[in-house]
């Protein structure tokens, strides 16, 4: 008994490590199960993903929102020759993303229950490996460790798309996904190395620890290059216009759960990368690239919405809507004020919940009809009332109706954007209208009207398992919409710290580089002022 307790206590010391590697333990246990025993495999996978979620929940409650900086920190030497450490920790930003990951994984495994019937064992193993990669990337505080987890995610996702995806174009989609991400990330690797050697020369400390590297002031000319390399890697993942072309293919061809994870978590890797690495490390360059990124974000918002409107395939429509939603996330982040950044992080979670739900719903209907074409449906609300209600709620959340989570995020982002530069806010706001247009139009065509297609007459409404999958999502939509303080309370300090540190380092970079006198006037929590080389509003 004592022995067991001591094990539990030592696990508490390694809380994050436990959360990162528990899914791998599950995967190894799955390896030992006979591949014919599908239900046993599904249950073991579900148990492990549930355990993972349950174990990660205390993070939320034990996390002290008043402390600035990282919590649950673990640090050990890994490759001392390079000063590479096994350094884990979370702040208010990554906390929520970790929880989103563990939460969505459970739902994904539930949703794969009947959708995946071949090679179940390999599927579940891939999924659990993927979870390790995702959680690891969110909690890693060492650049090399982050890079390792970042790349580790690729392989299971690639397999998920390629093996269990839509037979027609899955291979193309899988390879495209892999090559795009890989091409972006290898440049980031070089940038990481350059950063390391710059730091080594200026401070003499060999470290890839991002918290240490935050303190290093990098020469401005170099900052531009390094930021560009990081930004391209992350922008591909987000994906920002014009790097988004892999996304519709990957999302459409992936199996339902793959799409959910891809949209829900993997895209957030990109935005998280900006906020954790690219922006705080290279603030001067971030400011210089700010107009470009904002414009690309707005193009993404409008373009994604317009293209969504024209889609005939439900899944593709949802995929393109991600381009639009992630545009908001980027815009809010680069508004660089409290509202914008908090809205942006909130929108990351929202997008995970609402787009994840949309993919789940599309998957459910696909399982019944084996088609995703909008034209094949119509009048579904008559035969599937429960489905229609849930679909409606999710649609409204995706549009951003007040009372749902989407509203809070979008509102804050637009507020932040207006405060940063009115024009951005105005243009981005039109995207909201377009968003409502394509979602509602789609909903109308699928759900209302006469049932023209006789095949739709006999559709069964959602099963109990499917309702159980959707209920947590619907609850979350309302909780996040009505009582957002629950989540903002956790991130306030971290976001505030992010902005202050960003500003402080920005000023240091400016001083270090330009002898010209620069006045940086700061309004409450807002980075305002006029720098000699770049105009900041």
């Amino acid at each position: 008994m004592n022995h067991l307790l001591s094990i539990i206590f030592s696990l508490l010391d390694h809380f994050l490590t436990t959360i990162v590697f528990l899914p791998i333990v599950g995967a190894i246990i799955l390896l030992l199960i006979n591949k014919e025993k599908h239900s046993a495999i599904r249950i073991v996978a579900l148990v492990f993903s549930l355990a993972e979620f349950v174990i990660s929940l205390p993070l939320f409650f034990l996390f002290d929102p008043k402390i600035v900086g990282m919590q649950f920190v673990e640090k050990a030497r890994w490759i001392p020759e390079y000063g590479i450490t096994y350094h884990l920790g979370i702040d208010g930003i990554s906390l929520l993303l970790v929880l989103l990951t563990t939460f969505l994984t459970v739902l994904c495994i539930l949703s794969s229950w009947s959708a995946i019937t071949v090679r179940v064992k390999e599927y579940m193993i891939s999924f659990l490996f993927l979870e390790t990669g995702m959680v690891g990337a969110f909690v890693a505080l060492d650049l090399v460790l982050f890079y390792v987890f970042w790349e580790v995610m690729l392989i299971p996702m690639y397999l998920l798309i390629g093996v269990w995806g839509d037979p027609r174009r899955r291979i193309y989609a899988a390879v495209k996904f892999f090559i795009y991400t890989m091409a972006g990330s290898v440049l980031m690797l070089i940038a990481i190395l350059v950063l390391y050697f710059i730091n080594l020369r200026s401070t003499g400390a060999a470290t890839f620890d991002v918290l240490e590297l935050y303190k290093t002031v990098i020469p401005v000319g170099t900052q531009y290059w390094l930021f560009a390399a990081f930004a391209v890697a992350f922008a591909i993942k987000v994906p920002m216009f014009p790097f988004h072309t892999w996304l519709p293919d990957a999302h459409t061809e992936a199996p339902t759960a793959g799409s959910v994870i891809l949209a829900g978590v993997l895209l957030k890797m990109g935005t998280y990368g900006f906020i954790r690495f690219a922006m705080p490390l290279f603030p001067k360059a971030a400011m210089a690239f700010l107009p470009l990124i904002c414009v690309l974000a707005i193009i993404g918002i409008i373009y994604g919405a317009l293209v969504s409107m024209m889609q005939v395939d439900l899944k593709r429509l949802v995929a393109f809507s991600s381009v639009s939603h992630l545009g908001y996330v980027m815009l809010g982040m680069f508004a660089l004020n409290m509202q914008g950044v908090e809205g942006s992080i909130y929108q990351m979670l929202n997008h995970g919940v609402s787009t994840g739900s949309l993919f789940l719903l599309v998957g459910m209907i696909y399982e019944r009809r084996h088609t995703r074409m909008i034209a094949d449906f119509g009048g579904l609300s008559k035969v599937m009332p429960v489905f229609a209600v849930i679909f409606m709620i999710v649609t409204l959340s995706s549009i951003g109706l007040p009372g749902t989570n989407g509203f809070v995020g979008e509102f804050l982002i637009l507020l932040g954007a207006f405060r940063s530069r009115t024009a951005y806010g105005v243009v981005a706001a039109t995207g909201v209208i377009l968003g409502a247009a394509y979602m509602l139009w789609m909903f109308q065509r699928v759900m209302f009207g006469e049932i023209k297609n006789p095949e739709n007459m006999k559709l069964k409404d959602l099963s109990r398992r499917e309702i159980a999958t959707m209920i947590p999502m619907v609850l979350l939509i309302f909780v996040m919409g009505i009582y957002p303080k629950l989540f903002f309370a956790k991130m306030d300090v971290s976001v505030d710290h992010f902005l202050k540190a960003f500003k402080a380092k920005y000023e240091m970079s400016v001083e270090a580089s330009a002898p010209r006198i620069v006045s940086v006037r700061s309004g409450e929590n807002t980075l305002e002022g006029k720098a000699s080389s770049s105009q900041i509003d």
């Binding site: 890994w78 490759i79 001392p80 020759e81 390079y82 090679r119 390999e122 090399v144 890079y147 390792v148 790349e151 580790v152 690729l154 392989i155 690639y158 397999l159 390629g162 093996v163 899955r170 291979i171 899988a174 390879v175 892999f178 090559i179 890989m182 091409a183 290898v186 440049l187 690797l189 070089i190 190395l193 350059v194 390391y196 050697f197």
Partner: protein
């Protein structure tokens, strides 16, 4: 007249002596049991020899001795390479057991020649004089020429051996000529003395003779390590040679070539670094790019791996250009991890073949991932490692190589390197695409049951790839210690 008797120190060449002795015994035993082709016992005897040699090699690690009039040394650099060669040789022997029988190869000669080739490689790594280096190179090369053509009934094997021999002899000529030029300019064949002489005579730095000598040496070594534009032989020879020998060549000969290359250029010709770096920069870029781009269009897996081995030589050249101690250490690290992943991949190629049907087309891999799960997973690990995906050893190898380039501020070289590595992902992934995503075009059935030896080889290779990927610190520290005293 004073005649200095060279000090005799057998302990530092003990591993070579042991391997040679075992080689001779195997040759003799082979002659007695000649009617029985594909004798596995000889394979086990060679393994024993390698293990014994290994135990005589490791104690040399921490020493730094010279012997035989400074012709040969037992220093960290040499010993690290010797251990690498012994690992390569043992893996080669492991995968040959069974394969030799299937391919109907005379096992006496086969195993003996592997032993002799390994002796040659070890001499090359330990050589501190141009002459010893040449002796090692020839011992290795001639054994490999014969091994490449050992399947006498097979036209491709004969062609491969012929091609390799003619071009190899030609390249050796260049190398020897280069050595002569260097000797002519400096008056010595001992690397240390060459370096000292160059230092004392700065005007030598502009002497055309020694510069031509360096160029010729580059060609000679470039041929052995399959550097563009001296790579033309690689795909044909790799395709035609017995697969186990292809693995041996791709890893062992390449590593030995680099051992000599690094030793001569860094310890003897160091002052010429600015001269050779410009040309090596170009050659590194060409080698990586040609290797990776041409690999994409291959349909035969042995040819694909041949081009991939050219590309890997290119990555190693990046570290060579970097020229700092980190770069040299990363060469050692890279060659070791490359040995594991490459021999691993060739093992899978061997396992997928059977008598009279080698199944070496990439399309033959369709669907085997689910049919032979362990084989599929192993191949995936080797492919991903070669593509440089963490947490596998190949990633760490590339990480060190490119970090050396970045440290020396060769940013563009590093960028071209990583982009190449992104290109390479395409053809490595293609194998996994076929294995897992496609249905087989024709069933591959009736494979010989995988022998214990080949299973052990795969396990060792995977273990090496994973260990060097997840816990690379120890091997890197060892590599760093090994190159002290070299530069």
């Amino acid at each position: 007249m004073n005649i200095s008797i060279p000090e005799i120190n057998f302990s530092i060449i003990a591993p070579e002596l042991i391997l040679s002795a075992f080689g001779l015994v195997i040759l003799l035993l082979g002659a007695f049991f000649s009617e029985k082709r594909g004798n596995d016992h000889l394979g086990y005897i060679s393994l024993l020899g390698i293990v014994v040699a290994f135990f005589f090699t490791v104690p040399l690690m921490e020493t730094s001795q010279h012997a035989f009039n400074n012709m040969i040394a037992a220093d960290g650099f040499g010993v690290f390479f010797k251990v690498t060669f012994l690992i390569i040789a043992s893996l080669t022997v492991l995968i040959s057991i069974g394969y030799v029988q299937r391919a109907d190869i005379a096992s006496g000669e086969y195993y003996a020649l592997i032993m002799f080739a390994t002796v040659g490689m070890m001499l090359m790594a330990a050589a501190t004089s141009l002459l010893t280096l040449f002796l090692g190179l020839e011992t290795m090369s001639i054994s490999i020429y014969v091994l490449a053509g050992i399947m006498r009934g097979d036209k491709k094997s004969i062609e491969s051996a012929m091609k390799y021999f003619i071009l190899g002899a030609f390249a050796t000529g260049f190398l020897l000529y280069g050595m002569a030029m260097v000797y002519g300019s400096t008056g010595s064949i001992i690397l240390e003395e060459i370096a000292a002489y160059i230092k004392s005579k700065p005007e030598l730095l502009r002497s055309p003779m020694i510069i031509i000598g360096i160029a010729l040496l580059t060609i000679g070594f470039g041929f052995k390590v399959a550097m563009v534009p001296f790579h033309m032989w690689t795909p044909d020879v790799y395709e035609g040679a017995p697969t186990s020998i292809t693995a041996f060549m791709a890893t062992g000969v390449k590593a030995a070539g680099f051992a000599g290359f690094v030793r001569v250029f860094f310890s003897a010709l160091g002052p010429f670094q600015p001269d050779w770096i410009a040309i090596m920069w170009v050659l590194a870029v060409a080698t990586m790019t040609v290797g990776n781009v041409v690999a994409i269009v291959q349909t035969n897996i042995k040819r694909m791996l041949a081009y991939s081995s050219i590309a890997h030589a290119g990555y190693i050249l990046v570290a060579f250009v970097a020229g700092n101690d980190l770069g040299t250490a990363s060469i050692l690290f890279y060659l070791l991890v490359y040995a594991f992943m490459n021999i691993g991949a060739f093992t899978i190629v061997i396992l997928l073949g059977k008598k009279g049907e080698e199944n070496v087309l990439i399309s033959d891999y369709a669907g085997i991932g689910f049919r032979y799960p362990l084989l599929g997973v192993s191949m995936t690990i080797f492919m991903l490692s070669m593509a440089g995906i963490p947490p596998l050893g190949g990633f760490m190898g590339k990480f060190y190589v490119f970090s050396a380039a970045v440290k020396a501020k060769y940013y563009w070289l590093a960028i071209i390197g990583v982009l190449n590595s992104a290109v390479s992902v395409y053809y490595y992934l293609r194998v996994t695409v076929l294995m897992y995503f496609r249905e087989p075009e024709r069933e591959i059935t009736g494979l010989t049951p995988f022998s214990l030896a080949s299973r052990i080889a795969v396990i060792i290779a995977i273990g090496g790839v994973l260990y060097m990927g997840i816990f690379p610190a120890n091997v890197l520290a060892l590599a760093k210690r090994s190159i002290m005293g070299l530069m």
